[in-house]
Amino acid sequence: MSTDGTDARPKRHLDPRPLPTAPDGSPGDPIVSVRSLTKRYGGLAAVDDLSFSLPAGTITGFLGPNGAGKTTTLRLILGLAEPTSGEALVFGHRYEDLDQPARRVGAVLESNDFHPGRSGRDHLRALALAAALPPTRVAQVLQLVELDAAASRRVQTYSLGMRQRLGLAAALLGDPELLVLDEPANGLDPAGIHWLRTFLRRFATRGGTVLVSSHVLAEVAQTVDEVLIIDRGRLVARARLDELAGRGRTLEDTYLELTTGGAS
């Protein structure tokens, strides 16, 4: 095992080494590659023949009305659900085939995936142990999300914003290259949203890749480089925000035109 208690591992996204090789992989592989992904529950397709890929160093907003299949897609990418057909690869592999996934991918799917009676620090320690990460990472990520003062308290005493940050801390334990976040801004106050936006921007500037789902367009418009819009499990648009702006269109125009939610 390579963990010797130190964290001398170079920052991978600054590291010129080629990415770990897939059987058919090359360094230019997309970080996330979703091909003809389909997930049916009974007769209903929650995700329907979805294909997209994410290049490194970008923040991609994953948009769509409630029930469009955003969360299901993220669960399929993260190996928590099995696709009916098609595939979702991260770094050229199925998630469950990644060696030490916590060092490649960090994810937060729900804002409250904690045992209320366990301290924030113990929550992170249990995950760090299972991921074979050095214990020093726990203190580092606690500091990063500014939770060190509250780390010994039980999670039931945490505010929603603190829980969001604890979830993020867990995702960051392995210093991953890819962050997958499902509605991370839910319940955050303006200061929290600002903190999150700054954090994600810094993460991407250092070469990290972010896939963030949201249905709050105003929030997304200020944070992401490009958007994927899905509706009823299908991809309906993919665009860079600066392209949309160049064509004189707002994100909201595009979104409302292409999705079937609400007003129509």
Binding site: E110, N112, S119, D122, A130
Partner: protein, 247 residues
């Protein structure tokens, strides 16, 4: 695998759940041994088999609480959602189930050891205070305690398996309790002579610690049978967890 075991061990230590379980179990051991040891008429306590039955209440409580401990180790993760980060870190879910079985068996054995040892100790003390000869000898005591630990460890594995299959916490806990406290009693009732009750998992657990040799299996046979139950339950939990999508 070793890292998963350490992680599971920390999970079990870092909430109050297990301490509450231990406290409840010890309270009930104290209660039953005092009520029986002090309250039963002397003529119901002087035979070896009657004393074994009284001392054996601890073994039963160890089994019940170890089963709940095992079941909670997985249903609590599902209930609180920590199962998601757990499987994100260890996407080969089978090794999480295996680690839960291993750690629950270890802690469950501790539950069984403490419950049976304490029950035999308090029971014997109560008898001596009343001047009743203790007929249970050293070998019986050793079997009570060692059998109690083994039975509780195996039932902890059964609890993990049932929890992994059922997933929902309340039905799991109610189901295990109802089985051990009610269903097996009905199966073994005098009015029924099905002859199968001795093969039930609760009866097999009691057999391991040398209870009621007339009714139950030999201790070694009980151990083999209960091990089989534990293997089947763990395998079912493993299959259910690796094959189904995470909730």
């Amino acid at each position: 695998m070793k890292v998963q075991l350490r992680s599971e061990l920390l999970k079990q230590r870092s909430t109050r759940t297990n301490f509450v379980l231990v406290a409840g179990m010890l309270g009930l051991v104290l209660f039953v041994e005092l009520v029986h040891g002090v309250g039963l008429a002397a003529e119901h306590l002087d035979a070896r088999s009657e004393q074994l039955e009284t001392f054996g209440r601890g073994e039963f409580l160890g089994v019940l609480f170890a089963a709940l401990l095992g079941a909670l180790s997985i249903t609590s993760e599902i209930r609180h959602g920590t199962i998601r980060p757990t499987f994100l870190v260890t996407p080969r879910r089978g090794s999480v189930v295996a680690a839960k079985v291993g750690v629950s068996m270890l802690v469950g054995a501790g539950f069984g050891l403490v419950a049976s040892g304490l029950a035999a100790g308090i029971g014997a003390a109560a008898l001596s205070v009343r001047g009743i000869d203790v007929q249970v000898d050293g070998g019986d005591h050793a079997l009570l305690v060692a059998g109690g630990a083994a039975a509780a460890a195996l039932w902890a594995a059964i609890g993990v398996g049932i929890g992994a299959v059922v997933r929902s916490q309340v039905p799991t806990v109610v189901g295990i309790s109802a089985w051990l406290l009610f269903v097996e009693g009905v199966l073994a009732g005098d009015a029924l002579d099905l002859g199968v009750s001795r093969f039930a998992p609760g009866a097999a657990a009691a057999a391991i610690s040398g209870q009621d040799p007339g009714m139950l299996l030999e201790p070694a046979l009980g151990a083999v049978l209960l091990t089989l139950y534990a293997v089947v339950a763990s395998a079912a939990g493993w299959l259910a967890t690796t094959r189904r999508d995470v909730v």
